[in-house]
Structure formats: C-alpha cells, structure tokens
C-alpha cells in the first residue's frame, strides 16, 4: 500500500520518464532495522573502534548475517547478545555488562557528580559562614586615591 502511494506520488512528481523505485537492499527492511539496532551494540572485533553495524569487514558482515538469521528464528535481542558474549566474551559488547569488574565504570559518573556536589555544598556553606575581608580605613583611603588617579589616566 505504502509502496503504491509512493509510486503514485513519484508519477505525479516526475512524469513517466522518471524511473522505477529501487528495491531495498534487504529482503525485509523492518527486520533489517532490528538487525542494525542489535549490530550497533556489538563490537567489530577485527576493526578499530567500530560496531558491526558500521564496519565493512567480512567478520562484521558475517556477524550481521548471524544476527539476522537468529532474529528470523524468533530469538530475542537478549538471546542474541548472550550468545555473542558466550562466544566472544564481554569484549564484544559496546555497552559493558554491569558486574564486579565494571562496578567502578558504571558507578563512577554518579560518584563523580556526588563528590562534586558535596564539595560544592561544603564550599557554599563555608562561603556563607566565612566573613568578608575587612579593609582598614587606611586601605580604603588608598584605594579611593588609586581609583581617582586611574580614572583620570583613562580619561586622558
């Protein structure tokens, strides 16, 4: 139906000389979107810092095919990711799992913000309690005199 609409639209736009609509690269574009969503979470193990969604390497293509096949079989994303971990280890995941060795990684940002806020509140409290710098009469007079001369110089 959607295709028909697009075609009609195209015909209205460009006239008959305008060509036919290209076939999607994947047999099932909806499935392909799911594949890419899973693939974006998986590291291409032979590339530098790419996911298997981005990479052009043979391994990435092979893994995408596997993901597609498993999705088609009705496996859930979780199943597929578990399968990949079993096969390649945690290294394959771009989103590290939450476990003992990654505790600091996941809690670190929270701790950083908390520590920062604690220091901030401490500082603000000290600021409220702490007094101002007291200026002696002599210092004030000297400051006033300095300002006077400064403004005069700037006016000149």
């Amino acid at each position: 139906m959607a295709k028909a609409l697009v075609l009609t639209f195209l015909l209205l736009l460009g006239g008959a000389a305008w060509g036919r609509e290209a076939a999607p690269a994947a047999a099932d574009p909806q499935l392909e979107e799911q594949v890419m969503a899973v693939a974006a979470e998986l590291r291409c193990l032979v590339c530098q810092n790419q996911s298997i969604a981005e990479s052009d390497s043979d391994l990435a293509k092979d893994l995408r095919d596997q993901v597609r096949e498993k999705l088609r079989q009705g496996q859930s994303e979780r199943d597929i990711i578990d399968y990949m971990i079993a096969r390649y280890g945690d290294f394959v995941l771009w989103r590290p799992p939450f476990k003992l060795t990654t505790l600091l990684l996941w809690l670190g940002p929270v701790l950083l913000v908390l520590a920062g806020l604690i220091v901030l509140f401490y500082r603000l409290a000290r600021e409220r309690d702490g007094g101002e710098i007291e200026l002696s009469e002599a210092a004030r007079a000297r400051a006033a005199q300095l300002l006077e001369s400064r403004t005069e110089m700037e006016e000149r």
């Binding site: 736009l13 460009g14 036919r20 999607p24 590291r43 590290p96 990684l105 920062g116 400051a143 006033a144």
Partner: protein, 682 residues
C-alpha cells in the same frame, strides 16, 4: 644530508630549551635580570631551529626522500604534493615536531604580547614553557626521531593512510595542536603564579585571553575532526565516542570549565586555587591527548609492550608534569591567602561553580570510559569495550543540567542573586522555550521525549541569551542613541552571548539530526529511483575515473524535488594502489536545514549497485554552532580591557578588594563606573 641537518637543528633546539627552562626560572627566583632576560632570546632561538627542522622534514617529504624512515612509512612517490606536505604531521614523530614548533610559536607570542607584564612573571612563564619543550624534544630525540635513516632505502614509500588524504585532515591536527599547546600558556601562567605567589586578579586577567584563544582553537579542531569523520568515514556519523575523539574532547570540556572559572577569578578574586588546579589538569589532559592518540596505546595497551622505551618515556613525562605541578600546587596553595570575594549560595559565582563541577564530572566520566578498558586489561581483569551506548547513557544526564545553567548564569548577579528576581526575568524565556519545544516536534513530523527535551534546552539557551542582551542594552541608559547603546557592552559580553547561542545551535543540531534522520539501503540499476526526506534520487549509472594514486568508480545520482533537478550526488569508491580494500567516498549535498548523504556500496552484478542514501536534518548546525562558539571566543579575547597596562600588583589587589566592599557611594557611582560596568559583563 638533509636528515642530519634536521637532527642537528633538533639537538640545538633541545639545548636552547634546556637553557630556557633553567636560567629564567633561576633568575626570577634570585632576582637576576640578566638571567631572566634569557627567556625571550631563547624562545626566538627555539622557534628558528624548530622551523628549520620542520622545513627540512617537509623538504624530505616533498622530494620523496625514502632514506628517511618516517617519510618512507608516511608518503609515496605518487602522493599529491598537498598530502606530501600534510604527511609531515600524518604520523607520531612528525606530529610531535609540529607540536613543539607550535609551542615555540606560542612562546614567541608570549614574548611579543607581554610587554606590560612584570619581567619576573614573563621569565617564569617562558621558563615553564621551556621545560615543557625540553621534555618533548628529549622524547623526540631519544625515542621518536623523525629524521631516523632507513638504509637501504625502499623503492617507494608505504603511502599516507588514505583516510588522511583529505583537506580536513590537513587542517585538523594543526588546529587541535594550537589548542593543546595554547593551554600550555595557561599552565605556565598558573605555575608562574604559584612560584611567585602572585595568584591574584591580575594573573587571571593576563591568562584569560591566552586561555580563550587556546580554547577557540581546540573548539575548531574538535569541530573539524567531527566534520571530517562525518564526510570521510562514509557512514554519516558525526561523533563516535572513539578514544581518539575523547582524548581531544576531555581538554576541551575542562578548558571550558577553566575559562569560566578564570572569569570569576578575574572579576571577583574567588576560586583562585580551583582555577590554578583546572589550568594544570587541562594541560595535563592536553599532553595525554597528544601522546595517547599518536602512540597507539589507545588501540591496545600492548603498544607499550612492543615499544617499551616510548611508553615508559611518555608515562615518565606525564608523571613529571602532573606530579611536579600538583606537588607545587599542594605546597604553595595553602601558603597563599586564597580567599576571594565572598558570595551567596545563589549568585553568579555559585552558578558558575556548579557549572564547573558538572563540566569536571563530565570530563571525569569521559576519562573513565576511555581509560577503563585499558586499565582493566593492564590489570589482567578481562577485556571490555566501552562505546557510544555507554557514553550516551552517562554523559547526557551530567551535561544537561550544565546546559540548563547556561541560561541562568549570565542573568544572575554577582555576589548575591535573588530567586524571585531571576524568576521574573526568566519567566518568558522559560515559557516560550517549553511551549515551542512541545509544539515543534509535531511540525517536524513526530513527537518524541528526547527531541522535545533537546529542543527545550536549545531554545532555553537561545531565549535567555536574548534576554541577557536585551536587559544589558536597556541598562545602558535611556538617553542614549541606539548605536551608543549597542556599543556600550564590552566585546567580552557579546562574545559570551554569541558563544552561548552557538551552544544552543549545536544542541539543536544534535537533537534534530539524532531524532529525525532517515536512511535507506537500496539496490540500484540505471534509472532506478529512491525517495527520501521529500527528495527523489535517480541513479544514472557508474563510471570509472582515474585519480593521482587510485582509480575510482563513481556513481551519479540526480536529486529531484517537486519535479525540479536540485542537485547531483557523485559517491565513489576508490581503490588506492597501496591498499587492499576500496575506500568509500561519500557524496553530500549540504544545506542549511538538511544534508543529503549518499554512499556507494558493493556492485552486486555488472549493472546493480548497493547504494545508501541518508537524509540528515540540521546536521550542519552542529558545526555551525561550534563555529559560533569559536567566534564568540575570539570576540571575547579581543576585548581591549586585556591590553590595558597593569600598573602594579598592589593597585590591582586594592581594586579587587574595592569591588568586594563597594566603597563609599559617591566614588562608586562617579569614579569606578567604567570598572563596575565591566564587572557586570561576564
């Protein structure tokens, strides 16, 4: 001969750097003017010899002298001239040479623009920079010499990585390095201030323009890197949370905190120790960025194992710079009376401090994610990968409140702000941004919480910037002409507003392209069409096209809208003679509100090709926003105020104290008017 001369020039520069690192510092400590004055001459001498070394390495590249090992591994006789020159900084050794050359340029700039500064301050600043240069030159001479010979010479070079054969790549590293190295000036000023004990408003004022200019370059460098990745890597992403990107993003984030903290130190005398600490850590992060990216440690910790000399030297240098300066900080900071002007729990100071805390936490988070896999691997605790899903999840919640605060900070008063007053001044901006953010996504076709949230932040920053400019112009005085009112605020104020609007534009771009981009992967034969984002693209076939050091297959796609031909896209695949795999060259039709992005994939048979087309709404706003931020920075740094001669430090101290006390009213209104006006600017 050329390589040996280059080597000799480097050695001489090293000797001069050592002299510059010792004599002026000793002279400043002992009050010896002759020793102090060595700094200026030495800086110039270093620049001369480093320029010679750089020139000779460039000559080796241009003349394809493959007896030089570095040239042989980063060039090729068929490489076009422009890329042969850019190849000079295409690898580890050459980029170090570029780094020290830029450092020498900054040193000479310091000697030129510091005529108003006390001689001992200049001597200390140049001394510290000399030490940094000496460390780098030692690293080059002992572990990473760009002039090492390769005998017998190979018949041809290994070629520059094709990804780097691109105009964006010619400019990106020098920009980034201008930023990195620029922070060495802020660092040197901080160390000099710690050494001399002159950690005051005057010091903050001197280092502000330098820091801002360094930040401008780093902003441009990061934006260029992101833009390059976008059009060159071929899948249309613009930020990957890649360790290489992260290591230049970290100094940028912390540098942003630094320029805000410096503003407070200059205006109000507060946060002095924090500012010094930021200046030190920002530079350490810049050093780390330089080393990590080029030394290959980021891709694998095993790079250390394959070349232990380099790795150990890097670690030692980093430890020396960070350990030494932090120790100095820990020793000196408590000795100096660092109490600045007091401020209330809600004031511009407290808001800026909160912004600093958030930016520092964000920097720490990026660092954690970047270094965690390395640390875990080094400790033998297993291998993990940390990628964009992690960074997106942790970075956004930290930075979003900071973005919100951009709207409040410039409106709030120094010292003590009142919540009701802020609420009154910001209510319209708040209402307008919330309502628009709720409605706009419908106009774009689909409502989603992230899109609405991102737009709300962008609109909020833009609206509040407008409010602050409007209020500032109204305050300028009722009797004045429009022109007089417009020119009343300082360039620093306009610069700040412009940079903040840049942030708004960037946030809007990020939100819109993330929320509304679409893509299609199709098989195309000549005459086939694909519709995307209101455009129809027609495939006109593929032609062979020779290049200087590659052959390309180039497809032609005609872009039509409402029956009219609006553009032609020619994505291609290049097979470089020196490479196995073909490289995809995307074709982009850029626009103010959208990019059309086409990539050519594999040929399925003689007539059918895989083609990926993408519609990227508002993607250029990302780099446009960065450009506005950089422009704002330039504006701020151009403020005449920074060039007013500083007459004596004591005077400066009194003035700072005065601004705290708000002296006798008749003086305050009549005499210090020009000062208070500036103090309100930001």
């Amino acid at each position: 001969m050329v390589a040996e001369l280059g080597q000799f020039a480097l050695a001489l520069a090293f000797a001069i750097a050592l002299t510059q690192g010792v004599l002026p510092l000793a002279g400043a400590a002992r009050g010896n003017p002759a020793w102090m004055s060595v700094g200026r001459t030495a800086a110039l001498g270093q620049l001369v010899f480093l320029a010679i070394a750089f020139g000779l390495l460039t000559y080796a590249f241009v003349s394809s002298d493959f007896t030089v090992a570095y040239v042989a591994s980063h060039s090729n006789s068929r490489l076009p001239l422009a890329y042969r020159i850019a190849g000079v900084w295409g690898g580890h050794e050459g980029s170090l040479l570029l780094w020290v050359l830029i450092l020498a340029c900054w040193m000479v700039a310091v000697t030129l623009f510091s005529r108003n500064l006390p001689e001992d301050m200049v001597a200390r600043v140049l001394g510290v920079m000399g030490l940094v240069a000496a460390g780098f030159l030692a690293f080059m001479l002992f572990t990473s010499n760009p002039f090492d010979r390769l005998l017998p010479a190979p018949p041809d070079g290994r070629d520059l990585n094709p990804l780097l054969q691109d105009p964006g790549m010619i400019l990106h590293p020098p920009m980034l390095y201008m930023g990195y190295v620029g922070f060495s000036v802020a660092f040197a000023f901080a160390i000099a201030a710690l050494l001399s004990g002159q950690l005051d408003a005057a010091w903050a004022r001197w280092s502000r323009p330098w820091t801002t200019v360094a930040w401008v370059f780093l902003t441009l460098g990061n934006a260029l890197g992101s833009w390059w990745a976008y059009y060159e890597l071929g899948w249309g992403g613009w930020w990957f949370w890649d360790p290489v990107e992260n290591s230049s993003f970290m100094p940028w984030l912390l540098g942003t905190a630094l320029i805000h903290s410096l503003a407070v130190t200059e205006k109000r005398g507060s946060f002095r120790s924090w500012t010094v600490l930021l200046a030190i850590v920002t530079f350490v992060l810049s050093l780390m960025g330089t080393f990590l990216v080029r030394s290959g440690v980021l891709t694998s910790v095993h790079a250390f194992a394959t070349d232990p000399a380099r790795g150990v030297f890097i670690l030692a240098l980093l430890a020396l710079v960070s350990g030494g300066s932090l120790a100095l900080f820990a020793w000196r900071a408590p000795q100096l009376q660092l109490r600045g002007g007091g401020f209330g729990a809600l004031s511009r100071e407290s808001l800026l401090l909160t912004n600093n805390v958030l930016l520092a936490a964000a920097t720490g988070t990026v660092m954690l994610g970047t270094l965690y896999p390395l640390a875990l691997d080094a400790l033998g605790l297993g291998k993990v990968s940390v990628g964009s899903p992690y960074f997106d999840a942790v970075f956004v919640p930290i930075i979003a409140p900071a973005l919100f605060l951009i709207g409040v900070g410039p409106i709030a008063r120094w010292k003590q702000a009142s919540l009701p007053e802020l609420a009154v001044r910001l209510r319209w901006a708040f209402a307008a941004s919330v309502v628009l953010a709720l409605v706009l996504p419908f106009a774009l076709g689909r409502w989603s919480p992230p899109a609405s949230f991102g737009l709300a932040l962008a609109l909020w920053i833009a609206a509040t910037s407008a409010v602050s400019v409007w209020d500032r112009l109204r305050q300028a005085g009722s009797g004045l002409s429009v022109w007089r009112r417009m020119t009343d605020p300082s360039p620093a104020f306009y610069g700040m507003a412009l940079a903040h609007v840049g942030v708004a534009v960037l946030v809007a771009g990020v939100t819109l392209v993330t929320g509304y981009e679409t893509r299609k992967d199709v098989r195309m034969e000549t005459g086939d069409t694909v519709a995307i984002g209101g455009y129809v693209l027609r495939f006109e076939g593929v032609a062979k096209e020779p290049g200087p050091n590659y052959v390309a297959e180039r497809a032609t796609l005609r872009v039509m809208r409402s029956g009219r031909n609006v553009a032609t896209l020619q994505p291609s695949r290049r097979s470089y003679f020196s490479q196995q795999k073909p490289m995809s060259e995307a074709a982009i039709d850029s626009g103010f509100t959208r990019d059309l992005y086409a990539t050519l994939g594999d040929a399925l048979n003689a007539t059918t090709w895989l083609v990926r087309v993408q519609h990227k709404p508002f993607v250029n706003w990302i780099w446009g926003g960065a450009l506005l931020m950089a422009l704002g920075g330039l504006f701020a740094a151009s403020d005449r105020r920074y060039r007013i001669a500083v007459r004596g430090l004591r005077e400066e101290k009194y003035l700072a104290a005065l601004r705290d006390r708000q002296v006798a009213p008749e003086i305050a209104t009549r005499k210090i008017a020009p000062w208070t006006r500036e103090a309100g600017n930001g």
